[in-house]
Symmetry: C2
Subunit: 431 residues, 2 copies
């Protein structure tokens, strides 16, 4: 198996033909994967991990080509960081494959079963989703991570990574394929769209004539918005993470400082990073200044409302747009609100329904917050940075869904499945 | 509350404005409904049932206007049957509301919970989906059924019924609204798009600026296909039910005849009606002729392959198109296949992944069929006509989903929910 190439000069027609072929191959692979035993899937993942380690040199060489191209194009430092592989990152990919192999296989498990008065026994049983199309940007490790999660859940995968990572993705894909083939997995379990033609994304979004069951966009806002607006198949929606930490009047100050600093600064580039700190007016006199000072001392820029600027002269003025901005950087917006209801009102107005935390020793205030807000993840006395499939015990994730359909929050192997009903009778007919 | 009317001559702009307003009202209602206690929702349903009974005369009078219009337009007998209300059908609507009131409320229930090594307690808790847009055709009872299921699951509903049923739908909607208002439910919990302008459907499919979370199309193939191709929000896909009954070599003949006749003829217009009968060649000599005779004697037209025509001279020739046709009528296609593998191959080639049954006393053949096929519902020794939310014990359904995303099979109140994660800690920060 080699990545699909486009050789014809009749580009558009050829692209459609090639993509349709990939769709048909994925559909055949998905049918075979749905019946592939756990041991064989796990063997494929372990073999792939071995090949990734053995091919580390080739992968880093390919990555060097991508990096040279990215530098020649003058791409940003943040993008080059995401694109860069090194020994540790290659080892992390291999280890990730082994971790997915160690996860329980969701396929075939009974989700629920019950008997009907007429003697029918009904079972809801997990099945693979089918074929998953993944459209991603510069991180080459997604090639291995996404392929592994899809395979474990019995799905075929069609991967379309960023143009700037094409050499790296191809080298990783070749290692995966070598490993999967060694374990006798079905052909085309994973396919890589190895063209830089952006029209390939458009073809994937049409669903390839029914061959793609779901699209997972992994990348920045513009990619996700394009996918959500153009896709003709279901999408694991992942919009922004405008996440909030609300410090209630009954919050322990040390705990609040620890969580606020961690939620904002542990990693600023993840979607679960806090972007806005809300402080109850009832504790502003005691809590606001120390919270702001701790953030500034830790290297964070603070943009605040009038009360926050009064509490610390280093705070700059927040504008309306700050309340709904996902900085993904060491910047935080801070505002004083009227208790838990005021916090909820702010979050409902400006938030993105991703992840919000309340810090309080008041159980009633916590329950109001946890019950009343409709975000994918709501935390009490814990950092928003726990918004992660691994931290939830799901063993890796393909993304965090902010939509309410099918999956919400971390999307792990279980969320990459569907189900069917198996009904056993003894000759029942319906009256 | 009255149904939304369009009065301006500047139609398109006005339509957009009115629909956007409905979306905003639905969003506000959904937020309130998410917090509405079970008792209040159930009281609304019981009040609405009372008003439907009290207003039966008005509803039938409105229905008579629709029927007169339909006859004047020369609409088909089948359509007029679906459109027609009588005392029994009005009573069935009222009873349906009471049955939904008696169902357990899924909202707020814990779907799963677990502890993490760091002490975090994670709970996955059911929440409403938000606002559900329902686009349906001639059956006026959908107005009451769909509104009830949406309300029970804490969702706001925007209903758009068929033009030919507009007077009936409006009368039913007014009764529902009167009942919901009497129980002090939030305003605009249910809204009816009371324009015959088809552009209203297009507006709903855009999602009304994020206000509609999911679209449920209920109707014929062309409606469902239009919705699936044009919708910018998730859709509960419901395509055709090309359902199969496979009679295996080890089938008891009497059971096979009973199930085949019931699966095809109990009601031919439902999506779970069998459309194709597959008979194992190993029992064709003994089973084929009696099966075909029983179907023909019960008033069914049989179209068959060569073997079936040889078995009974009354059988006409099936063409390739018959194998993938959803007749929704007293017609069945019959074919002899090579055992369970042959049956599965036929079903994978021509089926629609809706509902299939195997009749056999051979447990191994049954398991091969139940494990190997990927349809929403697979039955062993039972009629395909059990493909129904009520028969599954779900207490009513808004449709049968054939997609693999979110819900599959009967869509009842539980399937009209989403979930959120509630995480409780004691100051945890992420290392």
């Amino acid at each position: 198996m080699t990545p699909v190439e486009l050789v014809s000069t009749e580009r558009d027609q050829n692209l459609k033909t090639v993509m349709a072929l990939m769709g048909a191959q994925a559909r055949a692979a998905a049918a075979a994967l749905a019946r592939t035993p756990t041991k064989k899937k796990d063997a494929g993942l372990l073999c792939a991990a071995m090949v990734i380690r053995a091919n580390a040199g080739d992968i880093l060489e390919a990555n060097a080509k991508d990096l040279a191209g990215a530098r020649a194009k003058g791409l940003s430092g943040a993008l080059i960081d995401r694109l860069t592989l090194d020994d540790a990152r290659v080892e992390a990919m291999a280890k990730g494959l082994e971790e997915v192999a160690a996860l329980p296989d969701p396929v075939g498990t009974t989700m629920a079963e019950w008997d009907r008065p007429n003697g029918l026994h009904i079972e809801r049983r997990r099945t693979p989703l089918g074929t998953i199309g993944i459209i991603y940007e510069s991180r080459p490790n997604v090639t291995a991570d996404a392929a592994a999660l899809c395979l474990k859940a019995g799905n075929a995968a069609i991967l379309r990574g960023g143009t700037e990572a094409m050499h790296s993705n191809r080298a990783i894909f070749e290692a995966l394929t070598e490993g999967f083939t060694a374990a006798n997995l079905p052909d085309h379990a994973v396919q890589l769209v190895a063209t830089t033609d952006r029209a390939a994304v458009g073809e994937m979004l049409t669903g390839l004539n029914g061959a793609i069951d779901v699209i997972v966009p992994r990348g920045g806002k513009s990619l996700v918005e394009r996918v959500q607006s153009d896709a003709r198949v279901p999408v694991f929606a992942h919009l922004e993470g405008v996440c909030h930490v609300y410090v209630d009047a009954a919050a322990d100050l040390d705990m609040a400082i620890g969580i606020a600093v961690n939620a904002k600064l542990r990693r600023t580039g993840v979607c679960g990073a806090a972007e806005t700190l809300l402080v109850d007016e009832a504790c502003a006199a005691t809590h606001l200044a120390p919270l702001v000072a701790a953030l500034i001392d830790a290297g964070c820029e603070v943009r605040g409302d009038q009360a926050t600027r009064t509490a610390d002269a280093r705070v700059t003025a927040a504008s309306e747009i700050d309340w709904s901005t996902e900085y993904l950087d060491a910047i935080i917006a801070v505002r004083v609100v009227k208790g838990v209801e005021g916090a909820m009102q702010h979050i409902n107005t400006y938030g993105s329904h991703h992840t919000e935390a309340i810090i309080t020793a008041d159980q009633k205030a916590a329950d109001t917050f946890l019950n009343g807000l409709d975000s994918a993840i709501l935390l009490h006395n814990a950092s928003t940075q726990f918004a992660d499939g691994g931290e939830f015990g799901m063993g890796g994730e393909i993304g965090i869904a902010t939509g309410k359909f099918h999956a919400r929050g971390p999307v792990g192997v279980e969320q990459l499945t569907s189900f069917k009903y198996v009904v056993r009778g003894s000759g029942q007919i319906r009256p």
